[in-house]
Amino acid sequence: MAPAAIPRRTAPGVLDVRNMTMPAQSARPMPAPFDAYEIGAAYDEMFRSAGRPRPHYKHLYTQLLNRPSEELYRSKQEADLSFFNQGITFTVYGRAEGTEQIFPHDLLPRIITGSEWAVIERGLTQRITALNLFLADIYHERRILKDRIIPGEIIYTCKHFRRQMQGVRVPRNVYISVAGTDLIRLPDGRFVVLEDNLRVPSGVSYMLTSRKVMKQIFPTLFRKCGVRPIEQYSQALLSTLRSLAPQGRPTIVLLTPGNYNSAYFEHAFLARQMGIELVEGRDLVVHDNMVYMRTTLGLQRVDVIYRRVDDDFVDPLAFRADSTLGVAGLFNAYRAGNVVLANALGSGVADDKAIYSYVPKIIRYYLGEDPIVDNVETLLMTDRVQRDEVCGNLEKYVVKAVGESGGYGMLIGPHSSGEQRSQFRDKILADPRNYIAQPTLTLSAAPCFMDGRIEPRHIDLRPYVLFGEKITMVPGGLTRVALRKGSLVVNSSQGGGSKDTWVLEN
């Protein structure tokens, strides 16, 4: 099949590996501790070229030149200890019980200018507004289907589409109260959206705790750079949840799957920060379509549930009957309007990876605007022409299962074996709706403190968007790092770590 038949709506600059040319490398040697620093094809967050840092990284650069590496080592140890003592650990499965490791954290901050952030903020506000309108529409009038902007079958075949939600009114028409959208930066410096996380996005506790540690380690740098604060996140989240509740003083709880969940630390952390109760399914009961929690004082009415449990598990009567994490009868109470769930049930249909490819159309349809932050070019496997192109050239593409996240169900073409490719080809042909493909993109690289020297590693960015009365974002997010040299996978389950993200005042 001729590649020319592939629709290419992506703007110039979205380069894929096929036609990426290596920029000319400056031969100038870099001073220690940067002597092992190689600037590759990726956009380098810190350097315009070797030895020439971008203006917003100058303070950090100078400070690093003046700090002996033993001192950086000490700082690194100090930071790790601080994480350990705060209990920011995750359990390593499959080893002796109680083996806990700290979440890998890189010492050097990732810095974003105020003007770059302004674009991200406007772009994500626009995107979440549109996706929220989209959810309200497909669970009610379905104008977007009637107007043939999106084919109906793509909605009805989405495994996160909840028929039970049709006609259910949610407070303020807000479906997505908390979103975590993953952005990457292309070689030309533009941010683009890689995927949306609109169900139960996690990681915000790392953003908050890492900032606390970094302030202890780089106090002068903070003052010099003018870093915008993010500490107000917990209050903002609480106000968001409160704005969804009826008048008065609502009782808000955080619903966790329990202490064996890998994100349990975050659940406990956020509950403590907001001063709300951390509950499990077995703490809640539904009576007469009202939700209560069992306390030693008796049953207490619950108004808002910030749920960190997937749709499938919230109510064994309405969804998966084998779920022991949920609350029987919760869905009926929800439908009766007696309790608020955030995010709303069924919000996952909007972060399906096949629907992702329609987001630019969704934005134009509901808002009449062009997208401020672009998508990555995405090929739908339900389209015969696009499918043939991908199946014939699997080594060039990243193939993803549409309903998965966390780096699961993925094929990274350039790093795959022939056997893996042929397996994926069979999977795609067997169930085209379940897969999409994207060209292999080079994520931007930022300096990391690796074993005594500073080397570039690939990163992404997940800012958090809160939507209650209005949309708010704290300036920052979770920057994930692929700590393995050359790796493009930033997921913590696969050798990823995090960095503090600094958004500057200017």
Binding site: G87, G98, G258, N259, A268, A271, R272, E277, L278, V279, E280, R282, D283, V285, H287, Y292, M293, R294, T295, T296, L297, G298, L299
Partner: protein, 311 residues
Amino acid sequence: MLSRVADSLYWMSRYFERANHSARVLEANYNLMLNPSKLSTEERWHRIMASLGIAVAAGGIDPQSAMIKLTSDTGYESSIASCIAESRENAGQVREQISSEMWESLNSLYHQVTQASAKLEADSDPMRLVAAVRAGSYQFNGITDATMNHGEGWQFIQLGKYMERSCALPVLLDAYFSRAGEADSLDWVGLLASCAAFESYCRVYTADLKPDSMAEFLLLNPEFPYSVRYAVERLGAAIAAISQTSFTRATGRIERIAGRLRSSLAYVQISDIMIGGVHRYLNDVIEQCNSLHAAVHVVYIDYPIQSALEA
């Protein structure tokens, strides 16, 4: 406080006290077994089992395997290792409710015990595990008192600890006093050591080991931490403190049982108990503790929804 949280704190504490009690009993007896006695080794082991309330079929007990079963056998639910594991499991469920020092202490004790358990089958010094639990338990209790708010959660921890003690001590006493005729002075030393009571007893009654005096001391002394009366007093205090924070609940039944038990131990004379039969009296204490446990459970933890809605 969430009922589940209260329940976990209660059981964390109960299991911990149970491990601690077993450790004390085993340590006392292990040392005494080095001395000869008119009882056979087997008879002595039967009494150890009875002291801990463990039913065994008449007949042979192999001392070596019995010791392993009671200390390190994680497949046996009443072993010390299992009790520590249960206690830690409950603490893990409510980790954000207890102080991090408490968690660290309990967690490190758990690791010591599991490591000691793994080694135990090969060579054998079961006392190392037992000693670790004894030392660890004093540390954990001290840390709990020093680092946690003495609010409702702490009161549930006290409730668990003294409930367990109020149930375990009568069982232990019964094993000795129901067959008081057979016991020699070494056995009585063993009983006192099982309650860490030897020095305290001597301070009150001198080293004159009379069964009536010992019964009086271990049952009715108001000041000694391992007497039944002391445990019941603290149990009652925890219950009163909890019902004060949750005045909305119908706690009448709980307070009635606790009050009756407290005053029975406060006003009874040891001679009355001896005439009526120690066994009957001890059994009555255990039964009342059990109904107290059930009443607490039904009021604070697992109450019927309907009753709570009417309240």
